[in-house]
Amino acid sequence: MSSETGWQARGSYLAGARAALPLALATVALAISFGMLARSLGWGTLAPVVFSIVAFSGSAQFAVAAVLGAGGGATAAIIAAVLLSARFLPMGIAVAPYLKGGPLRRALEGQTVVDASWALASRGGGRFDREYMIGATIPQAVAWIGGTMIGVFMGDVAGGGERLGLDVIFPAFFLALLIDELKNGGKRAALVATLAAILALVSIPFVPPGVPVLLGSCAVLMVVVRKNR
């Protein structure tokens, strides 16, 4: 690598990190609410922080909290989280050609794929800026792990986040991600979302907690199978 491209790469890491700073602020707030929520569910202080370090996935962690908190079992929680993280598979495939090194190195670099960084690093036409994506992930990781630490200790002080309305933070966060999905997903995404909404709402009174989310995901099969008939 010439020194000139080295400098360009360094600038790109920094530009990505800068672009992600406002998002990191939102991430801190969400991480605090995750920490407080986890604390209110009786997870203690260690488990939520470890979870944020090893999983580093807001949507999956909130889904686990939602399922376990509602009395669902580990299996339902794991399935919900895995289904929710399944989007990282196509996202990873999309960035694969722009990552460096052999399969192991690329798999490690792929761990920096998170929704916001991936979206920020997209250069159109399926092209991605590797350095920008990695740069954008760093402040978000610091914010997520640091915010979780703050949240689990605030949990002691505030005595549960429900009084502060923190239990709606994650439905509201998912709503914001959903709106983005619907903006970019076209008619099929809207159809799937509508079907999933009906399946989830109708099933809530009749099945164990956690299962409505899994039933909602069956809307995908209904639409994909029907379309290909």
């Binding site: 707030a29 609410s33 090893v54 989007r87 907690p209 989310v213």
Partner: protein
């Protein structure tokens, strides 16, 4: 507590595999278009289900409470182009106020 740790470890491993598999294996290999379509549609399906169960679900019952007000406020704010952080904060504030007043 064991249930929690099993979940944490399983989710972390699954997450790493899901994030690493594409970069490690992709190159020449591709999923069928049908499989790709299904994967890309998973996010909206799961997100809508999580929004609704998190807002209207309570111990296996369908309820409408202060959370619906908070989420509704966030929905309006997002529709008006308010940034994510503010919209999410608004949902919490509205829900907290509604609980305080009711």
């Amino acid at each position: 507590m064991t249930e929690l740790w099993v979940t944490i470890i399983a989710v972390a491993i699954a997450n790493s595999i899901l994030k690493g598999a594409g970069p490690a294996l992709a190159g020449d290999r591709e999923f069928s278009p049908r499989m790709n379509a299904a994967i890309s549609l998973l996010a909206p399906a799961l997100l809508v289900a999580l929004v609704l169960t998190g807002t209207f679900g309570e111990d296996g019952a369908l309820v409408i409470d202060e959370r619906a007000l908070g989420l509704g406020s966030a929905a309006i704010a997002l529709a008006l182009g308010v940034p994510l952080l503010l919209a999410v904060a608004l949902a919490a504030v509205v829900t907290a106020l509604a609980r305080l007043l009711v």
